[in-house]
């Protein structure tokens, strides 16, 4: 224990120093502590009386984590969690340390961590989670993972260290993991809702073959846009919950179904869970709305074609707006921008939005829109592009920003100066 106490003290001091120097530092304390005591995570996690929940998958990790934390807190549990981006070992260690006394005693009941798909294989045995939630697996940053099959193997390996798996029945790669031997519960959607989710790749509109859907414990019965959010109905056996989510899109209906199913495992009451889900505000950049010079700026983070197709569907439902798509190709975005060609931008031709493109690969995005039959202006400089976007809308109007990760961090700091250091991952 002495080693842990020492590791935590040094880690915390390093974190404070880093923050003092203005370098952020959400990852620093965990990173340093793990160097001194490589079992920091194991030693702290074992003190959580209700154990650990891991949320992993390509899209929806952050929002699903937020939703589950809300549901568990409504049950009176004290929850440790990690904010978006700190989803590697160092981030998990940092947030466990924050919930611990200087002697290493955890002062919380349960932890809900979103974990990167590539890190989950090694983190899962270390955290021995009671439950692992897998939201979906889609093509994302293939230059990082190489093959989608490899990612699926990582996640399947992680499930073996859990007591219970909560899986998306509508994602074939995820549903397949039910064979891994761990006890499984499924969430999914009714057939009419599944049809609303654009498949990963169906250029010629071919219906994806889908096997029989396993029995669902929570089913997304309906989902439709309502204001800036989504009206969804969740079914559990005979029970139905209808609610207005502040987060938009069918995909957030799936996230709510996943969070509710996980919450039910901890005995969550339906009324309280519904109130908790309705109270969830959009996570950092995931539908978040920021006031900027009299305009409402809505941020929709884009990471991969599946996520882009969801945003495209959302853009098809909102009224004519000014939209800026900002594509960077740094490490956290993925160096390969070819996925832009897998998104169905053609669906937006003639929808009346005014498009602009920005970021390091502004012209690649402009070209994608041109070949989709959509006119757009291109301005690689993010700050100049933001100005142009704002100028193209009148006061009180909502403009839409669709940035990749690093473009979002920069735009966010322009919209809300001073907040970046706390939110950014390092």
């Amino acid at each position: 224990m002495l080693r842990l106490v020492f590791a935590m003290a040094i880690g915390r001091a390093a974190g404070r120093l880093s923050q003092f120097l203005g370098r952020g530092g959400s990852a620093i304390p965990g990173l340093i502590a793990e160097k001194i005591d490589p079992c920091t995570i194991e030693k702290l996690a074992v003190g959580l009386s209700r154990g650990v929940v891991i949320v992993t998958g390509t899209n929806g990790k952050t929002t699903t984590t937020k939703m589950l934390v809300g549901i568990l807190e409504a049950e009176g549990l004290s929850v440790v969690t990690n904010p978006t981006g700190s989803n590697l070992a160092r981030g998990v260690a940092t947030h466990l340390m924050r919930a611990a006394s200087w002697r290493g005693r955890i002062e919380a009941d349960i932890a809900v961590f979103e974990v990167d798909e590539a890190a989950v294989r090694t983190l899962s045995p270390r955290l021995s989670p009671h439950l692992v939630v897998v939201t979906n697996l889609a093509r994302d940053q293939l230059d990082r993972f190489g093959e989608l099959a490899t990612t699926a193997e990582h996640v399947a390996a992680a499930l073996r260290h859990a007591d219970l798996a909560v899986l998306n029945a509508d994602d074939p790669l995820v549903a397949e993991m039910a064979d891994a031997g761990t006890e499984t519960r499924f969430f999914g959607a009714a057939p009419q809702v599944r049809r609303l989710m654009p498949a990963d790749s169906n250029l010629y509109g071919a219906e994806e073959e889908s096997g029989p859907q396993p029995a669902l414990q929570v089913r997304l019965e309906s989902a439709e846009a309502e204001g800036y959010g989504e009206r969804v109905e969740l079914g559990m056996g005979g029970d139905r919950l209808e609610m207005h989510l502040q987060v938009p899109g069918t995909y957030n209906g799936y996230n709510a179904a996943a969070a509710l199913l996980a919450g039910l495992e901890y005995g969550a009451g339906l009324d309280r869970a519904q109130a908790a889900l309705e109270a969830i505000r959009p996570a950092f950049g995931r539908g978040q709305v920021i006031e900027h010079r009299g305009r409402r700026v809505r941020l929709l983070l884009v990471k991969n074609p599946a996520g882009f197709n969801q945003i495209i569907r959302l853009l098809g439902e909102v009224g004519e707006s000014s939209v800026l798509v900002a594509i960077n190709d740094l490490d956290a975005d993925g160096h390969d921008v070819s996925w832009l060609w897998d998104a169905r931008l053609e669906d937006l031709a003639g929808c009346g939005h005014r498009f602009g493109t920005s970021g390091i690969r502004a012209y690649d995005m402009g070209l994608r829109l041109k070949y989709a039959g959509i006119e757009a202006w291109s301005e690689p400089d993010l700050s100049a592009a933001l100005e142009r976007l704002v100028a193209s809308a009148s006061e009180g109007e909502t403009v839409i920003l669709v940035p990749t990760y690093t473009a979002m961090l920069r735009l966010h700091s322009m919209l809300l100066p001073g907040t970046r250091k706390r939110e950014a991952w390092t």
């Binding site: 230059d143 190489g146 921008v337 070819s338 060609w341 690649d364 070209l367 070949y371």
Partner: protein, 238 residues
């Protein structure tokens, strides 16, 4: 019909890294010139007469999909060889490019037989060759993105598509990228290849129009400024 027919081979099975963008680029560049275009999707097990097509496109895929299409490709080997000989334009990327060679020896020792259009072999490696590529070709610099672990070696006398200026290309040693036999092209460049390389896209359309109509006068100039800007920003990334 005043236009061309494009066959898209294995559109669901072999479609990763934005390969669809190549079909979109060919289609649009014909339409912008007032030409008609028909795209025939050709999935596995569906019969197709390659004499119908002016241009055949086939993309890359993950290892699993490559195995799925390998058998189907064998059954079409004779028909494809004949179409290539008759000057049909082919563009094959990454996974199908590899299968258009004699064979692909995977890293675990499995041999996937190819159809031998290109005189070459591919050997699976442990290291993935990933990154932006610039290739010196007869159509000028081609820019794209590569992501493959197979290393392809051309036989002596097998023409390549070009020389690598940045990136790996066929393998990390010979400096060659891609292959060409008659009007059949193979390459590791995705990203997508054709939208950012309009001279090559039009080069393929020219070959197809000349073969079908005797001349390519319909291929009037287009404003490619945005294409060139996108290519320039891609070639600056390393």
């Amino acid at each position: 019909m005043n236009g061309l027919v494009i066959a898209h081979l294995y559109p669901l099975e072999m479609n990763i890294y934005g390969d669809t963008g190549n079909v979109i680029a060919l289609t649009r560049r014909l339409q912008w010139r007032g030409l008609d275009v028909r795209v025939d999707p050709v999935p596995t097990t569906v019969a197709y007469d390659f004499a119908e097509a002016d241009i055949v496109f086939a993309g890359g895929g993950q290892d699993r999909s490559q195995l799925e299409v390998a058998d189907d490709l064998q059954r079409r080997a004779g028909a494809i060889a004949e179409a290539v000989e008759q000057g049909t334009v082919f563009l094959t990327i990454c996974g199908t490019y590899q299968l258009f060679g004699r064979r692909f020896l995977t890293r675990d020792g499995t041999e996937i037989p190819g159809i031998g259009v290109f005189a070459m072999e591919t050997i699976g490696g442990s290291k993935r060759m990933i990154g932006n590529v610039v290739v010196d070709s007869p159509w000028g610099d081609l820019v794209g993105f590569e992501n493959h672990s197979g290393r392809t070696f051309l036989d002596a006398g097998q023409e390549s598509l070009g020389r690598v200026k940045k990136g790996f290309g066929n393998n990390e040693r010979t400096g060659e990228e891609g292959a060409r036999v008659v009007n059949c092209f193979g390459t590791y460049l995705h990203g997508s290849l054709l939208p950012k390389n309009p001279a090559f896209a039009d080069g393929l359309l020219r070959l197809a129009l000349e073969r079908r109509y005797g001349d390519a006068a319909a291929l009037t100039p287009l404003d490619d400024e945005l294409e060139h800007r996108a290519a320039a920003s891609a070639s600056r990334r390393s």
